[in-house]
Subunit: 247 residues, 2 copies
């Protein structure tokens, strides 16, 4: 009998060209598909909560699969982990209603962007955080980040490509900047994200720090619906998909 | 005029065959020597606080160099970091008395051994911690670790090879096990360490957890001066040189 299973996993994206299968590039999906086949003997359609870009990490990433495999949800994570490399881990598995879909059932997501703010880099954060030399003022950045809150057309914060169709309105429910020692973290939650949206939000916050954009100016930049008004796209290495919300 | 400079650095040892230059293997010293030559144009004798093994990490590692280079101590770290890979960082530089030697002047060191204690591995700790599935009791391990304290001949906790000559007595001044969430950390400080000493101490603590050695038995194992009485050598990945003490 076919069941619909939801897997949560986490991965260090440093070595991967994101989630989605591509020709001639190593992706998390391709590796997961290989482990899936090793465990179940089947090649099945994996529904993921999102694509992630090259070098982006996931502390929580969700995949749903309809399968006739008889492996129990309790045993599935360990069975898959035996066939996955050390930079990918399946954390849990549970059975879901048949109409559940990791992407379409998703109500929202939370991302973190981590910035190591110290004159000297941290060797243990290679590929895991943006290294920013000059002092960041977290209160200033937090004040600016509040400008992202609410429902807006985020065209100014989107790299336009074939992927983005239709309405570019998204509702941001959390946007904050906090410091933990030398690490400055931007956390943002929304019902959905446009292509490169978080990284452009970060690039814009760094422009605020540099005095090139005023903290109060973010609503105007959103209003302009013009990508050129926002800051540059920050590097992928600091970005983590942190939580995925359902129901 | 020749000065004697002390550099502190940190590195992720995953990619390296330890500090010391070897033929046909990438070592931190070889990479540092390359950066040094790029900055100063010289090839000089680097005195390091210790060797570290393949895959061992350093949060603090000290190197002294006698040099006629005129680069100021304030500018040296950034100058070297520009020529070092991202998994190695020079943190500071200061001028020392001419008789200072990073190894011979060292009064002691502190190591940490980090164990990720959870049924599911953490992809972000690949090569950075030992993954231990079964539940660890940190109070039991801490009690056992106290048996390492004091001045003893640590022959039972030493892989004998050409490196170890003379007196195998070392004085352990700190030995504790603490839990921070899913991470269990063994911290040990001593005036010096024998080859593989910390890793054998950890392997022995894991035997205590497994009920194969009693927590109270460690002084007897030390007393036996017999490597076969102690536990196995734990993997290198969890080991961090944490602090180096001078004066």
């Amino acid at each position: 009998m076919e069941r619909n299973l939801l897997f949560t996993m986490s991965y260090d994206g440093s070595a991967y060209h994101g989630w989605q299968v591509q020709e001639n590039a190593l992706t998390v999906q391709a590796v997961f598909q290989g482990a899936w086949q090793a465990v179940t003997g089947r090649r099945e359609d994996l529904k993921a909560c999102s694509r992630t870009d090259t070098g982006v990490h996931a502390r929580e990433f969700c995949v749903s699969v309809k399968t006739e495999s008889k492996v129990s949800p309790e045993r599935f994570p360990a069975a898959l982990n035996r066939h996955l490399p050390e930079d990918i881990a399946v954390k849990s598995c549970k059975e879901m209603p048949f109409d559940f879909h990791a992407r379409y059932s998703c109500k929202g997501k939370e991302y973190c962007y981590e910035i190591w703010n110290h004159p000297v880099r941290d060797p243990f954060l290679r590929g895991r955080a943006l290294h920013y030399w000059y002092s960041l003022e977290e209160e200033l950045l937090d004040r600016a980040a509040k400008g992202y809150l609410g429902s807006h057309d985020f065209s100014s914060f989107c790299t336009l490509d074939r992927r983005e169709k239709g309405d570019l309105t998204r509702t941001v429910t959390k946007a904050q900047v906090r410091r933990q020692g030398n690490m400055v973290v931007f956390t943002v939650a929304a019902d959905g994200f446009l292509y490169n949206m978080v990284r452009i939000m970060v690039g814009t916050l760094l422009r605020v720090q540099q005095g090139k954009i005023r903290a109060e100016e973010i609503p105007e930049i959103i209003e302009a619906k013009d990508r050129r008004r926002a800051g540059p796209t920050a590097p992928a290495c600091g970005l983590y998909l942190n939580r995925v919300f359902y129901e």
